[in-house]
Amino acid sequence: MTDTPDAAIAPDAAAIPELVLEVRDLQTHFENRTGVLKAVDGVSFDVRRGRTLAVVGESGSGKSVTARSILQIVDRPGRIVGGSMRLHRQDGTSVDLAALDPRGREIRAVRGREIAMIFQEPMSSLSPVHTIGNQIEEALGVHLRLSGAEARRRAVELLSQVEIPNAAAAADRYTFEFSGGMRQRAMIAMALACNPSMLIADEPTTALDVTTQAEILDLIAKLQREHGMGVLFITHDMGVVAEIADEVAVMHAGRLVETGPTDGIFHAPRADYTRMLIRSARKLEQKAEIRLDRPARTAPAAPLIEVRSLSMTFGKGPTPLRAVDDVSLAVAPGETLGIVGESGSGKTTMGRCLLRVYEPSSGSIDYRRADGSITDLVTADRRTLKDCRREIRMIFQDPVSSLNPRMTVAQIVGEPLYVNGIAKGRELDERVSALLAQVGLEPAWRERYPHAFSGGQRQRIVIARAIALKPRLIVADEATAALDVSLRAQMLDLLIRLQDELDLSYVFISHDIGVIRYMCDRVAVMYRGRIVETGPTDQVCDDPQHGYTKALLSAIPRPDPRERRLHTRFRYTA
């Protein structure tokens, strides 16, 4: 706050801004008895005052480890084995962070004071048993030696700066009382507490919907302008990169494959991997090619599933939460219905109601069985429900948590076949192998545990489980949110092809309108438990009627640095 923006960092300044961090040939290895994992393998880059360096790359390519290496907080058995990380201070001195003792006083003075970090998982990165205020004050106490009252005043000030409403009261609340977005903002407040000269932001917006994401990005940009921070921004969302980065570094398999100004990366990528990345990002801007090739649908068939005035409330008492509020929709056979909406709008809840995982409080779900009879799932008895659940399957929002970590992939994928008595023994094994092959996984890996797979592979395991019973409808809940763009495109293509092959219908839940446009025939927009707009995808995307839909569309960052538009987005207030 005290320092005014430096002339040197003005965007139009000709001079190259001064260096904050100079990383050369960084190597971080994880050693265990069976070998060495070279998570970061000779990475070099610079971070400059007032500038943003975005790091992109596929999941597991070493982005987070790189970030953690800078602060020497890599988890055991990780170890920095080579390279230098020179931190340049404004007084002209500099220090090689790689040479400091990770438990020493010097590195501690840097952490939080000169270089602050926002962690990837905002949900678990805050202590569950301390108040938010307490956690922010801690940094102030450690570095600035502020007294209790002063630290508190500053903490409240920081919280209001990151636009937490009623900051003074919020400081006394606990982590679990904050929503995801609020936690993310609290993390930012914490990181900014000591006016660091550099901020590391590790995927700070993955968990957020586009509108909230936009706000956070605005916030970081504003603070960066005010304090002249250097920012290292890790993300896999090319749209965000295009929106905020000055420079981009692309990582693949522990190495930097390309570094350069944002515009160059997007419009003249040199490395193959970068090209593929950009291509995928572009591809997801439009309707899937496979779908374009499909023959046009003939007369609309009788709907496979028809939902009428479905409502679902959480909690009792005077103010129950109406998570799903009078929703009606229908899905035709072979059709993909997209559900979009911001985080917390009730998409998952609605999806789960379809399988009656949650008991709807009112409404009906008419499901047309294969023999043409119609069953109302809301009132179906256990046996009927069980039968219907073989035909309606679910892909969970989070592949990690929906895979039992203590079962092998073969067991997981085989489970529905086994418990429904469809196959066992050798036959089961063969069926599982075939299923894995169908989703593009090496059948030989079926004895591995889920943790030995990458995020994209896990997603495919989930899909394999979902199609094992030859379902007619799949409720796919954010099936691709955790993936990087290239994988995401592959995955969506896989789903579309499966649809063609098995004559599937999808209810496709996402908060990413790009994905919806790529994938869906029709789309329903959810806002606070209600469906505010429904229609064919193109119509809704190109000509949104409802204010909320407009705001949503305007907040989506485009993967092109020449079309930055976040500052021009709509805001919707109900």
Binding site: D75, G112, A116, S127, E138
Partner: protein
């Protein structure tokens, strides 16, 4: 919070009734009754046993009644008059004789608890932070050693060593010279000189499990992201450890706090007999052996009440310590 406490207290009532019934039944399970003991006493004095007298006494004590009627008299006395019946053997109302002993019991249990915590926490933390180090193994070894040696044997060996090599008087909580003295600094010192033995003996048994629990809990927490967050703020390792993972790892321990009490009281029974402590242990054991049923039943009931209260207190403490529970 208040509602929570009230509800818990309300739950305690049926539990207590169940405890009182079971206490009453189990002390009646062994064959015979107090008069059997009385007859054995007579016999050991070389005297003749007059069966007529025994029968009259049995009637007088109400021991000829069916068990539920005996129970009803006892429980209605407690509920309506706070009268726990009399101890046949001590010939005094139960309430007169147990308070002092309950006091010492809880004093010793409490000291033991402090001792266990004071030792187990640092060791457990060390074991977790330096997992699989020599120190971890040594701590584990000694913890299990304490677990693997029967309490009374340890008490005996320690007493023997104390007598043989230091020549101090063992057993009891005070030396004979100090029993009657009013409380003074000297008496307190004398008390300390005696109380370490039971604390050590009972404590070692509980040490290992607490070390292991602490270690396991802490290992779970140690690599949680919020620890790294704190580290990234520049907090020193030691402070970090205490403020975050240890704090969270303590919660499961707090919730079992109330449960340690009956374990200590039970563990204390045999040790107290060996050390002749003025606690409820020897009295309960004697009352059980003598089938002095109102005394035995009342001690069991008292210990149970205190356990339930202890559990309640630890639940309240837990609610204070862990905001996630408080706000549920």
């Amino acid at each position: 919070m208040l509602r929570f406490i009230l509800r818990r207290v309300a739950y305690m009532v049926p539990t207590l009734f169940a405890v009182s019934i079971v206490a009453f039944v189990i002390i009646q399970l062994p064959p015979g009754d107090y008069l059997t003991t009385l007859m054995a006493d007579w016999a050991s004095g070389g005297g003749a046993v007059e069966m007529g007298t025994v029968e009259v006494l049995r009637e007088r004590y109400g021991l000829d009644q069916p068990i539920w009627i005996q129970y009803f008299y006892w429980i209605s006395g407690i509920v309506t008059r706070g009268d726990f019946g009399i101890s046949f053997e001590l010939n005094r109302p139960v309430t007169d004789v147990i308070w002092g002993r309950l006091g010492y019991t809880f004093l010793i249990s409490f000291c033991t608890l402090l001792f266990i915590w004071a030792l187990a926490l640092p060791i457990g933390i060390y074991s977790a932070v330096r997992q699989y180090s020599i120190g971890d193994y040594v701590a584990t070894f000694f913890g299990f050693l304490g677990l693997a040696i029967p309490n009374f044997l340890l008490a005996l060996v320690l007493m023997y060593v104390t007598v043989s090599y230091f020549g101090t008087s063992v057993g009891g909580l005070f030396s004979p010279a100090m029993v009657d003295a009013p409380w003074s600094l000297m008496k307190f010192a004398d008390f300390l000189a005696h109380v370490w033995l039971p604390i050590l003996v009972v404590g070692t048994a509980g040490l290992a499990s607490l070390i292991r629990i602490m270690r396991a809990n802490l290992l779970d927490e140690l690599h949680k992201p919020y620890v790294t967050t704190a580290r990234a703020k520049g907090v020193s390792e030691f402070r970090l450890l205490l403020k975050y993972p240890v704090r969270v790892a303590l919660n499961p321990l707090i919730s079992t706090l109330g449960w340690i009490l009956p374990a200590l009281v039970s563990g204390e029974i045999i040790v107290s007999v060996v050390l002749s402590l003025p606690t409820t242990g020897p009295m309960l054991l004697r009352a059980l052996l003598a089938q002095d049923m109102y005394l035995a039943g009342s001690i069991i009931l008292m210990v149970s009440v205190l356990t339930l209260v202890g559990t309640l207190v630890s639940d309240i403490l837990l609610a204070i310590a862990d905001p996630r529970i408080r706000f549920q």
